[in-house]
């Protein structure tokens, strides 16, 4: 058709992405001006490494949120998969692949249980994953006997602290997850169905989409990525910590929402989530660099996050 029409799609989608991106740049410029330590290669690397765990979680939950669900169990799953993986990562026991696969596998299992209870059991995602939040935490404590699982092999710890081609492994993993997820959501049928199910479940059913499968897939991806994040975290802090990850799900979900994904489902993107993750990471890093008192940090962090989204919405109008 004619050229004006093709412009219509811009405002709602791109401009809002754009808006939050501007907000992100604004925060970065502000920090570069106020502290000399912010805009340095090392610090940027540090930020990236720091955000990678929340980033992997946030990407997982992006799938679930686009499909119209929510996952509050992430933080606990992180702890559970961390202790399970760590138990198989003592030096000289199993090859590295075993703890990695087990950690991701446990995450997938939890995701599947969430997904099945939500789809077949027809219980609200909020309740299912809130229940799973305490269940997974309990399982992590039972598995580890309430003690951190220590003495992990150097190879395992490298997943969190090592470098590959001079780039920290967590960053590599994060980037890999970004690319694969973006491709799935954008270019595959399953990705399309995730948007469809979240956008209009009834219509999706009427289009012959097996919505239960699609939702299950989203929860499994989310669980599996939580498993991966759990492994990275355990490796980074060189222990499987049964009390790790408390409230991490909130940061992950916040990143997703800041990135313009609607909690109503049907809308959102990996790119947005990545920006959301970076905004949270940069704020955390910057407030520490600026030496803001801890109590005020919390206030400022809250205000900045709300303002960033506010700015974004105003821009989008």
């Amino acid at each position: 058709m004619n050229m004006n029409l093709s412009k219509i799609k811009l405002p709602s989608g791109y401009l809002s992405k754009y808006g939050i991106f501007i907000a992100f740049l604004g925060i970065c410029v502000l920090l570069s001006l106020t502290t000399p330590y912010f805009f340095t290669p090392q610090n940027i690397l540090i930020i990236l490494r720091q955000v990678s765990i929340n980033g992997i979680l946030a990407i997982g939950v992006t799938f679930v949120i686009i499909a119209g669900g929510i996952d509050l169990s992430l933080g606990s799953v992180l702890a559970l998969t961390g202790v399970v993986a760590a138990s198989f990562a003592h030096p000289g026991t199993y090859p590295l692949i075993v703890p990695v696969l087990l950690g991701i596998g446990v995450g997938i299992l939890v995701g599947a249980v969430n997904g099945l209870t939500i789809t077949v059991g027809r219980v609200a995602p909020f309740i299912v994953t809130l229940g799973m939040m305490t269940i997974a935490r309990g399982l992590a404590l039972v598995w580890s006997n309430g003690r951190p699982v220590t003495n992990l092999s150097p190879a395992f710890n490298d997943i969190g602290g090592g470098d590959l081609l001079h780039i920290p492994v967590p960053i590599l993993l994060f980037v890999l997850v970004i690319i694969i997820s973006a491709v799935i959501l954008k270019y595959t049928r399953t990705g399309r169905y995730i948007y469809a199910v979240g956008g209009n479940e009834n219509a999706a059913r009427a289009s012959g989409i097996r919505i239960n499968r699609v939702k299950l897939f989203a929860y499994i991806i989310c669980g599996g990525l939580a498993g991966l994040a759990g492994i990275v975290l355990a490796a980074r802090i060189t222990t499987g910590q049964p009390n790790a990850g408390i409230a991490y799900e909130l940061d992950a979900i916040a990143a997703v929402v800041i990135g313009g994904t609607s909690l109503m489902g049907g809308r959102g993107s990996i790119a947005g989530t990545v920006i959301g993750v970076l905004i949270i990471g940069v704020i955390n890093n910057g407030l520490d660099l600026l030496n803001v008192t801890s109590y005020y940090q919390q206030i400022i962090k809250g205000v900045i996050i709300i303002s960033a989204v506010l700015l974004d919405r105003k821009n989008a109008q």
């Binding site: 720091q50 003690r147 802090i237 660099l289």
Partner: protein
């Protein structure tokens, strides 16, 4: 102003990552550190790790990129906070652990061994019960270093007293309201069978105390907890709380800053690991703790 002049006019910068600034005891340590640093012209940057080891590691990374002269670490976890210590050492910045230990060895240590606090508290309970009776234990947040160590210390004493019977053990997550509800529920199921309560911190001890008082059982039950926060000291003075265990926040905080400055200036430190013992606080010796 010794911090400033001896280093060519440039004052020393010390970064500190604290376990949780929502914990009264840690706030006391922090205040002591800040006061002492202020008096000595040291610039102190305090971060709050909010009980998250990963966050603590991040904060140390940030200190390193800020090029601070020394780092004080109030560890969240024994093992999980170790990478923080190792990172600082790798960057050539002296690191001092305050209050509790990590499995990685820092350049200096000022603090105490949490196990000891559990030992002292449980020993006092055993003494007050005459070596036999039923107790209940209120745990801190499960899996955290302080909870684990205090539990280990208490267990060690319990092994010595086979006639002390643990009726129930449950977590109240360091929270006074949760401990109060837990105690109320236990009063329902165990009633006057309970002879003593051991709580992993004073907040929870105070919660249990209030539940017992409301049920009019306090005079029959011994309550002992750990930390010697202001409220608990007052309660000991009033004869409500039977005992608490005092940890020297001021000594720890000042000692840590002092050692940090010395290590930053590469001055000799004769004792690189200072253990400050816990002290039992009862009605008898309360006067010396109330300031």
């Amino acid at each position: 102003n010794p911090g400033a002049n001896q280093d060519g006019g440039k004052s020393i910068v010390v970064g500190a990552s604290m376990l949780s600034l929502q914990s009264e005891f840690v706030v006391n340590v922090k205040d002591a550190m800040e006061n002492y640093a202020g008096e000595n012209g040291v610039k102190l940057i305090v971060n709050d790790a909010q009980r998250t080891a990963d966050k603590q590691v991040q904060q140390i990374e940030t200190f390193i990129s800020q090029k601070v002269d020394a780092i004080i670490l109030n560890p969240c976890e024994v093992e999980a906070s170790s990478p923080a210590v190792e990172k600082a050492k790798a960057a050539g910045i002296p690191v001092i652990n305050v209050n509790s230990e990590t499995s990685a060895t820092p350049d200096g240590f000022v603090g105490s061994d949490d196990e000891e606090s559990g030992t002292i508290a449980m020993e006092q309970i055993a003494k007050l019960l005459g070596g036999k009776g039923n107790i209940v234990i209120i745990d801190g947040y499960m899996g955290q270093a302080a909870q684990i160590k205090r539990a280990i210390g208490a267990k060690r004493i319990l092994e010595k007293y086979p006639d002390i019977n643990v009726l129930a053990e449950q977590t109240a997550e360091w929270d006074r309201a949760k401990a109060m509800s837990l105690m109320e529920n236990w009063i329902q199921s165990y009633g006057d069978k309970i002879n003593a309560v051991f709580a992993h911190n004073d907040e929870m001890g105070m919660g249990a105390l209030q539940a017992l008082e409301q049920a009019k059982l306090k005079d029959k039950v011994v309550v002992v907890s750990i930390d010697a926060i202001a409220d608990a000291l007052q309660a000991v003075k009033d004869g409500r709380l039977d005992a608490t265990v005092y940890q020297d926040a001021k000594g720890q905080g000042e000692g840590a800053v002092d050692m940090a400055v010395k290590l930053a200036r590469k001055e000799p430190v004769e004792n690189k690991s200072v253990f400050i013992p816990f002290q039992l606080v009862t009605k008898e010796n309360i006067a010396s703790f109330l300031k």
